[in-house]
Amino acid sequence: MSDLDAFRAEIRAWLEENCPAEMREPVRDEGDVCWGGRNFKFKNEAQKTWMERCAAKGYTVPDWPKPYGGAGMSPAEAKIWREECARIGARPPLSSFGIWMLGPALLKFGTEEQKVHYLNQIARGEIRWCQGYSEPGSGSDLVSLQTFGEDKGDHWVVNGQKIWTSYADKADWIFCLVRTDKANKYQGISFLLFDMTTPGVTTKPIKLISGNSPFCETFFDNVVVPKNQIVGELNRGWDVAKYLLGHEREMISGAGGGDRLNAIGAIVARNGLEDPILRADLAMFDVDALAYACMGEKFLDEAKVGRAHPAQPNMMKYAGTELNKRRHELLMSAGGATALEWESERTNGGSPSRSWLRTKANSIEGGTSEVMLNVVAKRILELPGA
């Protein structure tokens, strides 16, 4: 028996013993996701138990080093962990922007002290993070941001406004891009961390066309941020942000797995499919979706061994999000009048139409399709000009 086989047996046994039955049910909606944080209301005891048991073993962040709250798994071991979880349908014990975004940035750019402090909090689900990047005047053109941190010796005083801060009204801390040098566009931005309960921080949810409000406007009015709450060097926050955007784009593109881009023709046809031309569009979509799934697999395989072009996530995000929008246009057509319902039991609270509207953000958030195409043109195709 190889080491990995032994490892697999160990994981399998641990999961069998520790993963509550309720946590082996598929995630049905947002309410089933465990986000952690100071104010998080666990849906049930099982959700809390599952998170805590995993956190105790470092399994909430299996491939992070042990001193930072992880289990220190190798890539091969982490893959086994994922496979064994998938085998029994175990839900992720903890989801958070801390795990997906801030964590990787801290691992690369943080001081040892920061890593020990913040990463352990994230791993244990104690602190929920949100991201402060976009501003009303700085969407695609992120680097033109205006939120300013004035140097006051041992701290900054931050003033300004962020927008599209996901779940800012539920988060405990924020990682935030703040201008610390007005003279330098790119090299005048710093990556700061601070508590959302700091005096001067207020949030206001933004109502979306889907009827939901997952995003906020966030206002900073003389917010005091101590100097040790910076990640990376002063004025070099753009490096951290760029690194992080890569992660975000992979996540949004669904390249990291996720099954929302599955073929849909067969699913739709179960409810009857009488329109031959709609059927044709579904078949052409399925061709594209099944091919894109291969691309997702290829990209991950190549990324693992460092063969993928560093700008390839931009292509993946572009293609994946455009495809997902098309998928939901087709689902709306297939659903007909029923899918138009905005609120009803039959449609699970207007779920088809709300999901459809939600997908329209896919090609805007985390870098618009237009920005993705710009990046591909410039960095992969090396076309001339801006």
Partner: protein, 379 residues
């Protein structure tokens, strides 16, 4: 006939454009009635104003007190309704309902048209029985019972159904579900016993109901036109609804396009107006082209319908499919070009996207009508 408005039509367009912008605008109507969770989904006061303008009876015969106008004129109103996203029962009442009643007796017209013309009544049309438009199949049954009929069955996606004073129902009086013959149209009064509504809000904030008819007893007076011979009249009503929805779609597409191009001329990113980016310019120009072409198809179909041309049926399907495609492109490009703010309820572009979806589905989507184009063309 040239493919543009006559002088009279241009005058009508001018007055309707001003009226709808002033009275039917998004803030005053759509947002207002949506935010107060109005169970009609539209405002009766505006409907009364429609009547004062003479619009509610514009398609009714002069003998019935109407203006005896045609689909070109109705399309002028619908385009402005679309451009302003004005919630209104105009299409189901004054276009489809009035077209149906025109095939009915003097008594029937006398019973319903005055209320419509006064802006006091609203009509709805009930054809489909499932989530997709499929008028070729009608299972809802009306059996002879005494001097009248007994209606049994259900209808889906009846826009303004619960608000309507009468629902025009296509029911089967003989034959089997997919027979062409054996259809009869009825004007079912709101208060008929056995009619129940599941009233649902749609994505565009309009209300539609799934209507159940449980042993609804109807007088012979409720029959519109001939018993068993209602298919031809039903087709007239459908054509009116389809070209009407197409006209409204061109208005929605144009409205979305207008606010989007305005946004392109004001929003800055990377130190320049986003409308300066050539990639967006080309997409906007392509979209312009699609909208122009759709509008041309719509006016052509309207003229053919008004002229009772044999080609009208084909061109109505071309127009509905093309308008749906062009308008869908317009709202998708609109939201994307607005970027983040396009996703917020605060901006209007998302409302256009919602209305587009609802109208595209109404009376057959692009798939249904492209299929019809193929079949009418003999393949």
């Amino acid at each position: 006939m040239p493919l543009f408005h006559t002088e009279d039509q241009a005058m009508l367009a001018e007055s309707v454009t001003g009226f709808m912008a002033d009275e039917g605008g998004i803030k005053k109507q759509l947002r207002h009635y949506r935010d107060m969770n109005c169970q009609d989904g539209f405002g009766h006061a505006l409907w009364k104003q429609f009547a004062e303008m003479g619009l509610t009876g514009m398609l009714a015969a002069e003998a019935d007190g109407g203006l005896a106008m045609g689909h070109v004129e109705a399309g002028i109103v619908l385009r402005e309704i679309g451009r302003n996203l004005t919630p209104s029962p105009f299409l189901t009442t004054s276009v489809m309902g009035v077209t149906a009643l025109a095939g009915g007796s003097d008594e029937l017209r006398g019973r319903w048209l005055p209320g419509v013309m006064a802006g006091d009544s609203v009509l709805a049309v009930a054809v489909d029985e499932g989530p997709k438009h499929r008028p070729e199949r009608i299972a809802c049954k009306a059996e002879k019972a005494g001097n009248g009929f007994r209606l049994q069955g259900s209808k889906a996606f009846v826009v303004h159904g619960a608000s309507a004073d009468a629902i025009i129902v296509a029911a089967r009086t003989s034959g089997s579900d997919t027979d062409n013959d054996g259809i009869t149209l009825f004007a079912v009064p709101k208060d008929a016993s056995g009619v129940s509504h599941e009233n649902l809000r749609l994505v565009d904030s309009a209300m539609a109901s799934n209507v159940t008819f449980d042993s609804v007893e109807l007088d012979g007076d409720c029959v519109i036109g001939e018993v068993d011979g209602g298919r031809e009249l039903l087709n007239k009503v459908l054509r009116a609804g389809r070209i009407g929805a197409a006209a409204e779609l061109t208005g929605v597409g144009q409205g979305a396009f207008d606010i989007t191009t305005t946004y392109l001329k004001t929003r800055k990113q990377f130190g320049q107006l986003i409308g300066e980016f050539q990639a967006l310019q080309h997409r906007a120009a392509h979209l312009y082209s699609e909208l122009e072409i759709a509008e041309a198809a719509v006016i052509k179909a309207q003229q053919l319908l008004d002229g009772n041309s044999e080609k009208a049926d084909l061109m109505v399907s071309v127009a509905k499919a093309k308008a749906a495609k062009a308008c869908n492109l317009s709202v998708r490009e609109g939201v994307q070009m607005h970027g983040g703010v396009g996703m917020t309820d605060e901006y209007d572009i998302g409302l256009y996207m919602k209305r587009d979806r609802s109208l595209a589905e109404f009376m057959g989507d692009q798939y249904y009508h492209a299929e019809r184009v193929a079949q009418l063309s003999g393949y």
